[in-house]
């Protein structure tokens, strides 16, 4: 087997608030290569916190502890700001939920992408511009030179998210963490954005961690799925074997979604078992 891209062993993340300490992630482990991993869970399950811990983006009141936390053989624990700067953006990148909040509103889309390229590679203006145009083209924006000069508020949600992906991919990272990248988009647009992401990951041989609340979507899109509940991974599945999920939480989640092809008088509800919070 090839050298793993990411090794996480027994990751714990806790947050100190005014009155108490909240354990957001409690012992998550993951070994992944250049594959598509889905992390699924409901709000508060710790799925986003896990993704952010890997990028060193835990807020100051959070505490990250792990037996191992490695990216491409490099230990990420206790990495200093300088070290993170070399990794973040260049070798691992993140796409967030809402492009409106991740793009700088007073800079054109194209300049932001060009600048992202310029910070990671020594490049002249012309070269950075060419790279940015190529990146926009790669995310299937039909008229890259027009979109290059648009400001974020002038593009639609789907286009903004694709521009965001272009910006992340221009540095050719080895790992992309996508945190609900399509939740703010319409279903048809969502589909196209996912297809683009899918192709890019396959073509460039990147690892992808796809954080989402949508079990069906993640299963259709990823190779493996981690199901998180209460800060723990309750089940790890091959995406193709989702229907064979054994954990009652996973089954409950699949079961409570209304489906077009299934008429029900009443939707099934998820009965939460306190024992899920403890070890399996």
């Amino acid at each position: 087997m090839e050298k793993p891209l990411v090794v996480i062993e027994d990751l714990h993340v806790s947050f100190r608030t005014q009155t108490r300490v909240v354990d957001a992630v409690r012992g998550v482990s993951l070994v992944m290569g250049k594959e598509k991993i889905g992390i699924v869970g409901e709000s508060g399950s710790g799925k986003s916190v896990t993704g952010r811990a890997l990028l060193g983006l835990t807020p100051p009141n959070g505490r990250v502890e792990a037996k191992r936390l490695e990216f491409d053989g490099q230990d990420l624990r206790g990495l200093d700001a300088e070290g993170w700067r070399h990794l973040r953006g260049r070798r691992m990148a993140m796409v967030m939920q809402d492009p409106k909040f991740s793009l700088n509103p007073v800079m054109t889309v194209g300049r932001q992408i060009a600048e992202a390229y310029g910070t990671h590679f020594k490049a002249g203006r012309a070269e950075a511009r060419d790279k940015a145009l190529a990146a926009l083209e790669a995310v299937q924006i039909r008229d890259p030179s027009r979109v290059f000069d648009l400001y974020p508020h002038e593009v639609s949600g789907g286009m903004g998210q694709r521009a965001m992906i272009a910006m992340m991919l221009v540095a050719e990272p080895d790992l992309l963490i996508a945190d609900e990248p399509t939740s703010a988009l319409d279903v048809t647009v969502q589909m196209q954005v996912l297809a683009i992401l899918d192709d890019l990951v396959a073509r460039r041989g990147m690892g992808l961690i796809f954080v989402s609340h949508d079990l069906d979507l993640v299963a259709a899109f990823c190779d493996r799925v981690l199901v998180m509940y209460g800060g723990r991974v309750v089940e790890t599945l091959k995406a193709s074997e989702l229907s064979a999920a054994r954990h009652p939480y996973t089954r409950g989640l699949l079961d409570c979604v209304p489906r077009l092809e299934r008429a029900q008088a009443k939707l099934n509800v998820l009965e939460r078992d306190p024992s899920w919070l403890e070890g399996a």
């Binding site: 647009v189 979507l217 409570c256 077009l260 998820l270």
Partner: protein, 255 residues
């Protein structure tokens, strides 16, 4: 027939957000409006609720034509539930004051009992009564919003994506609650959603909107049997089945 709209048009400048929409809603039924963002579905609901005053066409509620603004009597019969449970409750007011407000507006009696009963009906105990919204989860807040709408004993509820901000397990609970309340109080629902499956579950009849127009109206059994004729409806149906690489290919880009 409790509600009918004809030639309903809303223009924001050049753009026609709603373009000659027409539909009717029977008393006691639940009617769905489905579409993606920018389809005009929420605009229709806001016109019905009197939150947008600049529209043309005609709307009749219970046989009477509605004007630009709505009087208090209208709001005692029609109430609305908003999409975002984090934004629709006043951050400085306890649940108690949120529920007391409509009672005061409509000059209703027995506040104590009504508030207690409303909370109980939506599955929140009286322990929630004096909390602030930020102490509640999204699902609990949406239950409060539903209680607030029901406390004036309306005949019709306008539901604007009531579960799209919630986790799926909470969505199931809230949808079941809405369904049960509709039956218990013989309510009429007009529900807006981007999710075909949710609308098909909740509504007997639905209209699909695209770019301000109602492109197709059908009942849910026909939808389930795959009898949708309009290409846009078919595309929505295909997309709602989940990610499919080949399917994505077939969608034209929307830039």
């Amino acid at each position: 027939m409790i509600l009918s709209a004809k030639n309903l048009t809303v223009a924001f400048g050049e753009m026609r957000a709603v373009d000659e929409a027409a539909f009717t809603v029977e008393r006691g039924e639940s009617f769905g409006l489905v579409g993606e963002s920018g389809s005009g579905k929420s605009t229709v609901l806001r016109v019905l609720a009197g939150l947008i005053e600049d529209w043309s066409g005609s709307i009749a509620f219970d046989g009477k034509a509605l004007g630009r603004t709505r009087d208090r009597a209208f709001y005692s019969r029609v109430q609305m539930v908003f999409q975002d449970p984090y934004g629709s409750l006043h951050p400085r007011q306890t649940i108690d004051s949120a529920l007391a407000e409509p009672l005061a507006i409509h000059k209703m009696d027995r506040h104590e009992q009504r508030i207690e009963k409303a909370l109980e009906e939506v599955g929140l105990g009286s322990g929630f009564r004096f909390r602030y919204p930020h102490q509640l989860s999204g699902g609990q807040r949406q239950r409060v919003a539903i209680a607030r709408a029901l406390i004036v004993e309306p005949e019709m509820l306008l539901l604007d994506e009531p579960t799209s901000a919630l986790d799926v397990s909470i969505q199931a609970e809230v949808l079941n609650l809405l369904d049960a309340l509709r039956k218990a109080h013989n309510l009429t629902f007009v529900m807006v959603s981007h999710n075909l499956a949710v609308v098909a579950h909740m509504c007997r009849r639905l209209a699909v909107m695209n770019r301000g127009r109602i492109v197709e109206e059908m009942d849910r059994d026909a939808l389930r049997r795959g009898e949708a004729k309009d290409p846009y409806t078919r595309r929505l149906m295909a997309a709602s089945r989940g990610y499919d690489r080949k399917l994505a290919e077939s969608f034209k880009t929307l830039d």
